[in-house]
Amino acid sequence: MISQDVADSIQSYYKSKNEGKPNRLFLIFGVLGSALVGLGIILILAHNWDDFSRTTKTIWAFLPLVIGQLFTGFSILRNKSKTWKEASGVFLFFSVGASMTLISQIYNIPGNLSSFLLTWILLCAPLIYLLKSRAVAILHVVFATYYVFEYGYSVGSHTPWYYLLCLALIAPFYIQLLRQQERSNITSIFNWLIPLSITISLGAFVRPGDGDYGFFMYIILFGIFYNLGKMPYFQDQKLRRNGYLIIGSLGTMITLLITTFKWFWEEMAKSAVADTQTIMISSTLFIIALAILVYSYSKKWVKGFNLFQFVFIIFSLLFVIGMVDVTLSTILTNVFVLALGLTTMKIGVDQFHFGILNYGLLIVTALVVCRFFDTNITFVIRGLLFVIVGAGFFLTNYIMLKKQKSKISNK
C-alpha cells in the first residue's frame, strides 16, 4: 500500500513526536521540583533557629546559594539540556532569597519587604538571559509585581519607579519570544502575564489624591492593550492566547461603567489639579496609545470602524468636558457606553459570533443595572427595562440562530 520510504518517514515522525513529550514533562516537573525545594528552604530558615550560633547560621546562609550556583554553572559550562538550565535557574533564584532571608534574621535587619524583594529580583535578573530561562523570567515578572504591591500600595505609598527597570530588563527576552516563538505556550503565558502585571502596577503610579485621574490613566492603558491585541500578530491567534485584547476590552468596559456614575464626575470636579507626575504618565500613555493606533492605520490593519479602538481618545474628550460640566459629561458617558454595547452587538451579528453578540448585550445590561443605583425611576419602569433587556437577549440570539440555520441549509 505505501512505499518503504513513506513508512520509514511516518515511523520516524512518530518517534520524534514521542521523544519531545517526556522531555517537556520532565522540564515542568524539574522546574516545579526546584521551585518547591527552594521555597521549602526559605520556609525552613524562616523558623529562625535560635540554637544555632551566628557562624552556623552564616554557613547556612551561603550553602544553598553556593549549591545553586554550582548547579547553574555546571549546566552552563556543559551546555546541559533545557531542563537542567530551567531547574537550576529556579533553584538559584530561590536560594538567593534564602540567603538574604537568613542574613536579615541573623542581624535583625529591619529593611522592609519591598527593598528586600527588589534586591532579590535584580540579583537574579541576569539568569533570565544567561540560562535563557523562561521559568526565571516568569518569577521575575511575578516578583516585580509583588514588589509594586508592597512598595506602591502600602501606607504612605511611594511611586515604584524601579518597576519600570524590571520591565525594561525583561523586555528583550519578551520581544525575542514574540519574534521567534509566536505560537508557543510560553509566549501566550507572557501575553497574559505582562498586561496583567502592568494593570496591577499602574495604580501605584497614581499619586494619592489623584485617584480620579487614575481612572483616566487606566482607560488609556486599556486602550493601548486593546489596540495591541487588535494587531494582526495577536488578532490572528486564538482568542484565549490574546491576553492584550481580553484584558484591554474587559478593563475598558469595567472602568467605563464606573465612570457612568454621576458621583465620579462630581468627585472629579471637586478634586484639585493633577500632580505633574500624573500628567506626565497620562500623556506618555496617551502618546503610546495614539502611536499604536496611527501605526495600525498606516499598515492598513484596521478594517472597518471599531469604536473600541477609539475609547481612549473619546474618553479624554469626556474628561475635559467633565472639568466644565458634570451633568453633560455624565450623560455623554452613558450614551457612549450604550453606543459601545450596540456596536459590539452589531459586530457580533455581522460576524455571526454569539460570544461577541452576548458580550454587547452584557454591556448594555450592566449599564442598565448601574443606572438603577443612582436614578429615581419608579419600580414599574425599572422592571419594564429589565424585561426589555432580557427579551432582547432572547430575541437577538434567537434571530441569529435562525439566520445561521438558514444559511447552513442554503449551502
Binding site: H47, D50, F62, G97, M100, N108, P110, L113, L123, L130
Partner: protein, 188 residues
C-alpha cells in the same frame, strides 16, 4: 566559545550574588565589633514576614523629639543625635537634616509625623525588628507583659550597637536576661 563567555558572565553574576549577602554580613559585623553599645527602652509586639518568618516589632520609648525645623514631612529621613546616660540608656538629643561630626553618635530615623503646635516630630528608629524562633515570638510578648507587672522599672530594653550612623540590634533584654532565654525559662 560562546558557552565560555556565558559561563564567565555567569561567574561574575554569581560573585555579585555572593558579594551582596557577604557585604550585608560584613557591614553588620563591623558595627557589632566596633560600635558603641546603647540601651533603648522598648516594648515588643509580634508580627510576621512571609519570607523571613516571625519577628517581634519593637516600639521604642524614644519616639518623639522637639525640633525648630518646621519643614519636616512624613516619610522623610533625619539624623537623630544620641547620648548615653549613666546606666547606658540612650537619649535622643536632637534631630537634624545634617550629618553630625564624626565623634557624635547618630542614627537615621524616619519621620512619622510633625506637629506644628507642639513643634514635635514623631520618629521611627530603624532597628525595630527582632527575629525570633517562630514558637517563641508570641511567648516573648507575654514574657514582656509579665515583666511589666513586677516591681523593677525600665526592665525591657534593646541592646543596639551603633557606628557611623549604622545600627545593629544585637539583643532584646527583659530584666537583664535575653528575651530568648526568658522565653525558655518561662517554659521550664
Amino acid at each position: 566559545m560562546k558557552t565560555l563567555y556565558v559561563f564567565l558572565i555567569f561567574v561574575a553574576v554569581a560573585i555579585v550574588q555572593l558579594f551582596v549577602p557577604a557585604q550585608m554580613i560584613f557591614n553588620r559585623e563591623t558595627v557589632l565589633k566596633e560600635g558603641t553599645v546603647y540601651k533603648f527602652k522598648t516594648r515588643p509586639v509580634d508580627p510576621n514576614d512571609p519570607f523571613r518568618g516571625k519577628y517581634i516589632n519593637l516600639q521604642y520609648d524614644i519616639n518623639t523629639l522637639k525640633t525648630d525645623d518646621t519643614l519636616w514631612q512624613r516619610k522623610e529621613e533625619g539624623y537623630v543625635y544620641l547620648i548615653k546616660d549613666a546606666d547606658g540608656f540612650a537619649e535622643a538629643t536632637s534631630i537634624s537634616r545634617e550629618k553630625p561630626d564624626l565623634n557624635e553618635d547618630y542614627v537615621i530615623a524616619e519621620i512619622s509625623w510633625y506637629n506644628k503646635n507642639t513643634k514635635e516630630v514623631g520618629i521611627n528608629l530603624p532597628f525595630n525588628r527582632y527575629y525570633m524562633e517562630e514558637s517563641k515570638a508570641d511567648a516573648a510578648e507575654e514574657a514582656y507583659r509579665d515583666a511589666q507587672r513586677d516591681s523593677l522599672p525600665d526592665n525591657t530594653y534593646a541592646l543596639v550597637h551603633i557606628k557611623n550612623g549604622r545600627a545593629v540590634l544585637a539583643d532584646v533584654l527583659i530584666d537583664n536576661i535575653s528575651i530568648k532565654d526568658h522565653v525558655k525559662n518561662d517554659r521550664n
